[in-house]
């Protein structure tokens, strides 16, 4: 299985180890993984701000980089949501549509496509609070949100349950937005920060040692908020745990 790896711009810059973990994990699971070196971004910052035309060039570049792959995998639900749902500034040729359909978030790829049943190399004896990026949750349905009456499910949690030692903390507002919100965190900082501080405090009160998520953007923001208020809680992307990181 030939997989094109998409590493979001902020992950490339701030959390390269998550990119490495994703790569190694996919390889362990038998995928042939390539990283097109000309990749930049999914276009979300511009689209999120309403400037769709400014995203067109970036979208076209994304398609050019990834159109030859059977699957495109990114360890970021937010970027995958952008590609799959909102990448509409460019003409929707069959090639564009195919790239959009073949783009998967890492945990849904593991859960739905590879149907991974075990992570024998992984062990994480810690209490974790699982954080869901809102686009991952309500946009591409990685889990069932609390507002909807349905049979509950969570793909990230189902994967983490296969990792020995993982114990789950249950924060009271488990699927409330943390305030990252794409460009929101830049343009409305006071509310964004308050939401982030409330989020990390909620996880702490529930006894979480780590906040774990399938999205680095939320974690970066929360980490900044936690540090500022002196909250020692730790953060880890799910890809690292599934790939066998110990702490």
């Amino acid at each position: 299985m030939r997989v094109g790896l998409f590493i979001p711009c902020y992950m490339d810059a701030f959390e390269p180890e998550v990119g490495v973990a994703t790569l190694e994990l996919l390889e362990r699971l038998g995928c042939t993984v390539e990283y097109p070196v000309d990749q930049t971004c999914c276009g979300q910052p511009m689209t999120n701000t309403g400037c769709h035309q400014d995203a067109a060039g970036t979208e076209a570049l994304f398609v050019k980089n990834f159109s030859s792959y059977e699957f495109i995998v990114a360890p970021s639900g937010s970027c995958v949501h952008q590609v799959r749902v909102n990448m509409t500034a460019i003409e929707q040729t069959p090639e564009v549509r195919a790239v959009r359909q073949r783009t998967f978030e890492l945990t849904e790829f593991l859960h739905d496509v590879l149907k991974v049943s075990a992570f024998p190399w992984a062990s994480f004896p810690h209490k974790i609070g699982l954080h869901y990026n809102c686009n991952s949750l309500r946009g591409i349905n990685l889990a069932s949100p609390s507002e909807i009456k349905t049979v509950p499910f969570s793909k990230p949690r189902a994967l983490l349950e296969k990792v020995p030692g993982v114990e789950f903390a249950e924060p009271t507002r488990w699927d409330e937005c943390c305030g990252f919100g794409g460009t929101f965190n830049v343009f409305e900082p006071a509310v964004s920060v308050k939401m982030g501080q409330d989020k990390v405090s909620d996880h702490s009160r529930a006894g979480a040692e780590y906040i774990v998520s399938a999205d680095s953007s939320c974690l970066l923001h929360q980490k900044g908020c936690a540090r500022h208020i002196g909250n020692p809680i730790k953060f880890m992307h799910i890809a690292r745990i599934l790939n066998g990181a110990s702490a």
């Binding site: 930049t40 076209a60 794409g182 965190n185 006071a190 920060v193 540090r227």
Partner: protein, 517 residues
């Protein structure tokens, strides 16, 4: 607040050394439980809403920052509304058919809106047959003029009214004040807001941003009560005592309308205080203001909406009162004023017409993490929160052009909407409209142009990150759209920049020059 805390705090301080109970709380003798003799306690002042921007874009961000700075208010507001959200979940999820009912309500509303002309015609005919006088108002000004004319023709000088977002939208109270007619709100929250000269901050809880101390202070100022009396039932009774005489002597009564039933000509009003009945039934003249989107085709459809409304709003099976008005009382008059005020134009907007399905339950506000932390008045508009963000720009495109950005697009609003309005997608779509109409602040639109330019050129992008990936300190500026200050100055620390990007790691370990491949 326990008695021990209010008993001469200046004397006790935190060095209380007297007798304590089993839990370590200071024991209070009988004298201590009586009213302490002390100056009026100073509470955290109520944060006010968005500054008046005239016709310029509302600065919601600035108002939200002030709301958050008022920590007691923000905390109380957030917790109170979150509690309503939880109650909603509990009540809604107790019904196995909940999600199907949302779908049904959505389809009834969409059908009604698609055949609005037919159903409005039916409604008018049925109402007239029942003896109701029907008026049509194209906009807010005409609504106000019509109501004024009805009152003037009958020599009415005072009007009592129950809560109606439509009349707030029409600037009705201000208009009536200008023509010398006394308007008294009969909904407690709306009355509080009227006394304080503020707009409602929430569609069903107009004063929900106020603490009991704010209300005590307001009543002391406007009704002459004791500013230290913060007992809620007592505060409510103070207001009731003050308002009842005004209700009894009023010349006319007014209500809004939750549902206008086309086949029977009925106006249905849902309240928890019974104040619609008071307003409609005390004076001989009843005027109901009705937005054209309130139409539902048949009486039986009401069952769907009544089951959804109160559950979704506050988690109760029904509102305390569901009042049906169909015909004038013997010797009385009933008037319907059916108002467009931008609605038919909204109906023609391909991406936004379904916002007319809204039944004003307020659940999108309760669940919105931004709204809960910034207060309804920060939006500077009649309608606040997620639903306000998508309604307000149809009323004034320029003034409300900034509101679509006061959202994280998290989508919770859409999921709680009882009529399945895709609220967060419409917020997203409004951003595009504002950008295309060049209504974004210059800095924002320029930033996106530059970002779009650089991100579509891999070589330039890598160069911008710094040659050989060593100048990572440049990157935060770049990724965060050059707004480092908003990270570091506002309660958030910057992430550490690792020594190498993933891109550089790949080139070193897996790229053409590395040995591993």
């Amino acid at each position: 607040m326990s008695a021990a805390n209010v008993l001469h705090p200046e004397v006790i301080g935190d060095r209380f050394e007297g007798a304590k109970d089993a839990q370590g709380r200071p024991l209070v003798h009988a004298e201590g439980t009586s009213k302490p003799i002390r100056a009026h306690t100073r509470h955290e002042p109520q944060p006010r809403g968005a500054r008046d921007s005239g016709n310029r874009p509302v600065d919601q961000v600035e108002a939200a920052e002030r709301f958050i700075a008022a920590t007691e208010h923000e905390k109380a507001h957030d917790e109170r509304l979150w509690d309503m959200r939880l109650r909603r979940d509990q009540a809604a999820h107790a019904l196995p058919e909940w999600e199907d009912m949302r779908g049904l309500a959505s389809r009834i509303k969409e059908h009604s809106l698609a055949h609005l002309d037919t159903y409005l015609g039916q409604f008018e005919a049925a109402a007239k047959a029942n003896g109701v006088v029907v008026h049509w108002a194209a906009d807010a000004a005409e609504h106000n003029r019509i109501v004024h004319q009805i009152l003037k023709d009958r020599g009415a000088k005072s009007l009592i009214k129950s809560k109606s977002m439509l009349t707030d939208e029409c600037g009705f109270r201000a208009y009536m004040a200008g023509v010398g007619i006394e308007v008294v709100e009969t909904d407690l929250g709306e009355r509080i807001q009227q006394l304080d000269g503020e707009e409602p901050s929430h569609v069903i809880g107009p004063a929900i941003h106020k603490t009991r101390a704010d209300v005590a202070e307001l009543f002391a100022r406007t009704l002459g009560s004791d500013p230290d009396d913060e007992d809620i039932p007592h505060l409510a009774s103070i207001q009731r005592e003050a308002t009842r005489p005004l209700i009894l002597k009023a010349d006319a009564g007014m209500t809004g309308c939750n549902f206008a039933v086309a086949d029977t000509g009925t106006v249905v009003v849902c309240t928890n205080e019974g104040n619609a009945d008071l307003s409609a039934n005390t004076p001989p003249l009843h005027i109901a203001s009705i937005g054209i989107e309130k139409i539902i085709p048949r009486f039986e459809h009401l069952a769907v909406f009544l089951r959804l409304l109160a559950r979704n709003a506050i988690g109760t099976p029904m509102t305390q009162y569901t009042s049906h008005f169909r015909a004038p009382r013997a010797g009385g008059e009933l008037h319907y004023v059916i108002v467009d005020n931008g609605r038919s134009e909204r109906l023609g907007l391909k991406e936004f017409w379904t916002s007319l399905k809204c039944i004003r339950c307020g659940a999108c506000m309760n669940t919105c993490p931004v709204y809960r932390r910034s207060g309804g008045l920060s939006y500077g508009a009649t309608y606040s929160g997620p639903i306000g963000i998508i309604l307000d720009p149809t009323l004034n495109r320029r003034k409300y052009s900034s509101l679509p950005f006061s959202s994280t697009l998290n989508g919770s609003c859409t999921n709680v909407c009882p009529v399945k309005i895709n609220i967060h997608e419409q917020i997203f779509a409004w951003r595009k409209v504002m950008s295309e109409e060049h209504r974004l602040p210059f800095v924002k639109s320029e930033m996106m142009k530059v970002l779009g330019y650089v991100l579509s050129r891999p070589a330039l992008y890598r160069a911008a990150l710094g040659a050989a990936d060593e100048a990572l300190r440049l990157l935060p500026h770049f990724v965060l759209a050059n707004s480092l200050n908003t990270w570091t100055n506002k309660g958030r620390d910057m992430p550490d920049a690792p020594s190498q990007t993933f891109h550089a790691w790949w080139r070193e370990n897996r790229g053409p020059k590395s040995n591993s491949k």
